[in-house]
């Protein structure tokens, strides 16, 4: 505000006063204006401040939403596929392990864990033929005991378990396996003789349940002039499928010719060295050749 620096301007004191009055009014007006301006400015400032705050809030919210939208596209899916593939991997492993457990039967021993202990399954086979399986359910306690089993009564289970069960489970099971496989093999041979070579038998096949004592009368040629022989096979070693004692005799009244005597002796050897049904297979093959030298 510039005062006119003219004390000696027109009008005298009145003029001075008038001038002063104008100045005051002006200044008042100015200050009012100023105030008004200031007030306006103040409210603007506040308003701006408020608006800025609001804008910042909204900006933040909008950013959050954007982030969420991004997340829905990106993050969630890999997470889920990770979960899925973990599950898949675990299931595949389970199927693989179950298959391997089933495959153990080819080793002769397989089994399952039970709440009491373990149930072991013993498989048997002879010459590539898969035969019956048996089980032994063991209770893991001190002392170890057999809960129940499907071992035939003529297998010396008590004897074997008395020897090995408490000291060496593996030995116990291997031993049982040996006995059962040998029994299964002997049984198989006897069954095959009865079913496939009945024509060669001149009477029933006598056998015991353990199949370690067999006797029968047979002819090398089912329909022919061959001499009937009586054979007795004894398998004293219960862990083998070949006999330990073989007797082949001629039960006729006339004397046996030398060639037949030779036959008889060779048959004894055959029964010692080959499984029963294979001996008869060889008889059958010989017969097919129509060997005239057999006819005495």
């Amino acid at each position: 505000m510039e005062w006119a620096n003219d004390g000696k301007s027109k009008g005298g004191v009145l003029a001075h006063l008038e001038r002063l009055e104008i100045q005051v009014t002006r200044s008042h007006k100015n200050s009012e204006d100023l105030q008004r301006a200031q007030a306006v400015e103040g409210s603007l400032r506040t308003k701006i401040h408020k608006l800025r705050c609001l804008r910042d809030e909204l900006r933040a919210e909008a950013k959050q939403r954007q982030a969420r939208v991004k997340a829905s596209a990106a993050n969630v899916e890999p997470d889920q596929t990770l979960e899925i593939s973990e599950q898949e991997v675990a299931e595949r492993r389970r199927e693989n392990m179950k298959a391997i457990l089933r495959a153990y039967r080819f080793t002769g021993l397989s089994g399952k864990l039970t709440s009491r202990g373990v149930c072991v399954c013993i498989s048997t086979a002879f010459e590539g033929n898969l035969l019956d399986s048996y089980f032994v359910d063991l209770v893991i306690q001190k002392p170890l005991r057999i809960h129940h089993h499907s071992i035939p009564v003529f297998i010396p289970l008590e004897e074997i378990s008395a020897k090995y069960l408490q000291t060496n489970i593996q030995h116990f099971l291997f031993c049982l396996c040996e006995y059962l496989n040998a029994y299964a093999g002997r049984k198989y041979q006897a069954d095959r003789l009865q079913s496939d070579f009945a024509a060669f038998l001149a009477g029933p096949l006598r056998r015991n349940s353990l199949c370690n004592l067999l006797s029968f009368t047979y002819k090398v040629e089912p329909r022919g002039q061959s001499v009937p022989f009586w054979a007795r096979l004894r398998y004293k070693d219960l862990t083998t499928t070949l006999p330990t004692d073989v007797t082949v005799t001629y039960r006729g009244t006339d004397a046996l010719s030398p060639s037949w005597e030779e036959q008889r002796a060779s048959h004894e050897n055959l029964f010692f060295s080959k499984p029963l049904h294979q001996v008869f297979t060889s008889f059958a093959r010989k017969g097919e050749k129509l060997d005239m030298s057999l006819v005495s």
């Binding site: 804008r55 829905s72 072991v120 898969l130």
Partner: protein
């Protein structure tokens, strides 16, 4: 003031725009995210979801224990197994009640240091009365192949298609080989000067010599054999070596009869004690 008003106007405009953006309906992406989240939460609480995976994990643990038990029991670790089945078409029209199924099996694993791969076929024939299963083909590949005793055994097993015997005998064979190795190593450690393993501890040969009598040598050959029935047996032989002069001086023919005496000794003392007494007899000659 204009500037400020301009700012106010700008701010108001921005705020209006932001408000519109925030009031927009949710995008498909966000919906998807919410849906997945709730599904996961549902899945977690449902017994058919993660709870069963806990079951799965404990089931896996059970299966692992069973496998460990069987591999310890049989000595055989089966690593992989697969099977394919093929129903054979019936060419015989009269035998309608017979079904034939051919199974192709593949099995691999190891028995300690020996690995095997098996491929075999099983023919299953089902008729009215019974079901028969026969192994019709068996192929065995084994590694390592240095165990010469094994190759003959493997051919026999393949010929006979005797899978059970193959596994049983393999287990005992490996056990005997391990025992032989441990025994050789034990003696080498105990008598480092006298005992030599020219082909290593895993071989079948141990040589004992005395430092003071350089010409004398006791060669012990320990083979692990598998017989026709699949039984695994150790077979030990003693081959003494001596300089010519010694042989001439040997009136009691000790050296000649040594192999037989050794076998008798084995029968009486067992393998370890017999070997120990042999080594000691040569060593005490040194110390005296």
């Amino acid at each position: 003031m204009d500037a400020q008003q301009a700012e106010v106007r700008a701010l108001e405009a921005e705020i209006a725009a932001l408000r519109r953006a925030c009031e927009e309906p949710r995008t498909a992406g966000e919906d998807n995210w919410r849906a997945q989240k709730s599904l996961r939460e549902m899945y977690q609480s449902d017994s058919g979801g993660w709870a069963s995976s806990k079951d799965l994990r404990s089931h896996l643990g059970n299966l692992e224990s069973e496998l460990l038990f069987l591999s310890t029991l049989t000595g055989i670790s089966i690593r992989n197994y697969s099977m394919k089945t093929e129903v054979l078409t019936n060419t015989e029209k009269t035998e309608k009640s017979i079904t034939k199924v051919l199974q192709r099996h593949r099995l691999s694993g190891n028995c300690q240091m020996i690995t095997f791969q098996l491929e075999f076929q099983i023919l299953e024939i089902q008729d009215k009365e019974s079901l028969s299963s026969v192994i019709t083909d068996l192929n065995i590949i084994m590694e390592p192949t240095e165990y010469s005793e094994l190759s003959e055994f493997v051919s026999r097993a393949e010929e006979r298609r005797d899978l059970l015997m193959f596994f049983r005998s393999l287990h005992f064979f490996v056990e005997w080989c391990e025992y032989r190795k441990r025994t050789f190593e034990h003696f080498k450690e105990k008598y480092p000067e006298a005992v030599h393993l020219p082909e290593g501890a895993a071989s079948s040969c141990m040589v004992v010599h005395s430092a003071r009598q350089p010409g004398f040598e006791l060669v012990i050959v320990w083979r692990v054999q598998i017989d026709e029935e699949g039984k695994v047996l150790p077979k030990l032989d003693l081959l003494p070596k001596a300089p010519q002069q010694a042989l001439e001086l040997d009136r009691n023919r000790v050296l000649e009869t040594a192999p037989r005496s050794f076998r008798a000794l084995l029968g009486v003392l067992g393998i370890e004690a017999a070997l120990e007494s042999l080594i000691k007899s040569l060593c005490t000659a040194d110390s005296s």
